[in-house]
Amino acid sequence: MTPVPALSVEGLSVEFRTRSGIVRALDNVSFAVAKGETIALVGESGSGKSVTAYAVMGILDPAGRVSAGRAMLGDLDLLSASPKALADVRGRKIAMIFQNPRTALNPIRTVGKQIADVLIRHGNISRHAAPAQAVEMLRAVGITDPSRRAKAYPFEMSGGMCQRVMIAIALAAKPSLLIADEPTTGLDVTTQAVIMDLVNDLAKELGMATIFITHDLALAGQRSARIVVMHAGHVVENAPTRELFENPRHPYTAELIAATPDAAQSLDELAAVPGMLPDLRRTDLPPCRYSERCPRKLAACAQPLPQPIPGTTHFVACWNPLPEHALSAPKVSAA
C-alpha cells in the first residue's frame, strides 16, 4: 500500500481567456509528491510549470480557470475547496515562495511584521509573542543580527536577504509542502547555492515536501530526488533524477539534457532544442503537443497520450520513447 502523498495532482487542466482566444495552458497534468520528498518541475518558458503551481495554490490570474482535475492535499481537494478552507490551508499546510523576492514583499511594512502576520494568522500564537518568534524565524533562515533586521524594510535589504525573508514567511507556520517558483532567478550564483542549501536544510528539518520549479535542468538535477518534465502544458516525463539523466526516454527530455550547459562541455557542443512551442490558442492541437517538432514522430502519435500507471516510478508520455539503456532495467510505463 503506497503511503498517502503530500500532494497529488490529478488530471489538472487550466485555460485562460484572452482577447485573442482561449489559451489551453495546462492539459491533463498529473504528478505526486511524497511526504518529505523534493521534486522538481522542469520546462522551458511557457511550459506551464508556474501555472500549475498557481492553480494548486488557488492564486491564478482572474482570466484563468481550472477546467478539470483535482489537487489532493491529504483529504482536501484544493481546486474545489471553499475560499475559507483555502485561506486556512494556505500558509499553514502548503506554502509558496516566488521569484523576484524584493517585489514580492510589502514595501511599506517591516519584514518582522510581515512574518508576524503569518504567525498570528496560522501559528496559534498571540500578538505579543509573535514579534519575538518572527525574530527567531529570521535567525533560522540565516539572517545575522535578526532583532535589528526585523525592523527593516525590504528596500533596505539585498535580493538574497529578501529571499530569506520570503522563506521565513513561507515556513513560519511549518507547512508540510513548499512550492518554490524559480526562487534563485535574479540572484548571483553564490547566493543561489546558499539559498538552495537553506531550503533543503529546512525541508529536512521540518520533514517538508518541496516542489522546486525551474527552467534550469542542471539545478534541478542537483537538488531534487525526482524530476517532472513539462512541455506546452503537458507532463512528458516523470522519473527519479538519476534515472532521468542516465535514461531519458522522452525525446524532449533528451533534447533538454543536450541543451543544458555543463562545466565540462565547450559552448560549441551546446545544442538548442529544435522547433518552437505550439500556439496554445489553437483548437486543432494534436494530443501530443511535442509531435510537431519531434524527430521520432509516428502515425501512432495522433492518438491520446498514455496515462501514468500507478506503482511505476518512471513515466513517459510518448508512443515512441527512446530505447532503454542496456545497462539499467528500470520499470517503464508506456503502452
Binding site: M57, I59, L86, A87, D88, V89, R90, G91, R92, A95, M96, F98, N100, T103, A104, L105, N106, P107, I108, R109, D117, V118, R121, H122, Y153, F155, E156, M166, I169, A170
Partner: protein, 337 residues
Amino acid sequence: MLSLILKRLAMAIPSLIGVVIVTFLLTRALPGDPAAYFAGPAATPQAIQEVRVKLGLDKPLIEQFGHYVVDLVHGNLGTSLTTGQPVATELKNRLPASAELTLLGLLVSIVIAVPLGILAATKPNSLIDHSCRVIATLGVSLPVFFTGLILVYVFYYLLGWAPAPLGRLDVFFTDPPHITGFFLIDSLLAGQPDLFMAALKQLFLPALTLAIFSLAPIARMTRASMLSVLSSDFVRTARASGLSTYTIIITYAFRNAMLPVITTLGMVFSFLLGANVLVEKVFAWPGIGSYAVEALLASDFAPVQGFVLTMAVMYVMLNLSIDILYGLIDPRVRLEA
C-alpha cells in the same frame, strides 16, 4: 525625519516668493490708474491723488514692492473701502467659517469616495464599478454652483429637510463662544448640543455640495491605485500565505494604494479652494470667499488682493503638509532623506 520636514519647507519657499510677486503684480497690472481702483469708483480726483501718495503708488516699482513686502511681514493687507476695516482682520475673522466648510466637505468626500473606489476595484467591471465611473464623470462635469442650487431646491424647497441657505446658523441661535472658530467644535466645548445640531444642519448642504464636487478625482484615483496594487506581487504573496481578506485588502493593499491618493489630494485642494468661493455665494456663507466676492462687486480692490494672497499661501502650506504626510507614511521616502 526632521531633515525631511526641513527639506520640504525649503522647497516651499520659492513658491511663496512667487506668490508674493504675482499678487503684487496683479495689483499693479490694473489697466488705467491703480490709485483710482483703490480709491473706489466714487472718488474725486483729489481723493485719488491722496490715495496715490498714501499707498506709495507714485514711487518706482521696486520701491513699491519693498513697501509691499514690509507691509506683508507686518500683517498689513490694506483696508477695505466698503467696511473701513483692515483686510487682515476681516480675513482672520472669516477664515474659520471657510475652513470648517472646506474641511467638512473634504471629509465627507473621502468617506464616500474611498470606500467606493475600493469596492469598485475589488469587483472590476461589475455594476458597482460602472456606477463609480459614471458618478465620477458626472461629478467632474457638474458646475459646483449648480449642484448647490439643485440640492437647495430638492432638500429645502421640495422636501423641507434642510434649513434655508442663509449662513452658518439660523437667526434664532447665537454663535458659540469663540475658541477655534469652528462652530461644530466650539458648540461642543461650550456644552451646547442643540447649537451643535443647528450648526450641523446649516453645514450639511454646502459641505455635501463640496463633497460631490471632489468625489470624482478621489474615487477615480483610489480605484486605479487599488486595481494596480491588488495585482501586485506582494499581494500575491499575501494571498499565498493565507492571510485573511481583511488583512490583504486593508493592511496590505489599501495602505499601499493610498499613497498616490494622498498625492492627488494636492490637486483636490486646488479645486476645493476655488469651489469654496462659489459655494459660499450660493449658501450665503460668511467666509473669506464671499468676502472677496462682495468686495469685487463693490469694486473694492484691497480685500480681493488680500484674499488671493491668503488662499495661495494656504494652498502652499497645504501642499507642504501633504508632502510631509506622504513622507511620514512611505518609509522609502522617509529613510532616504
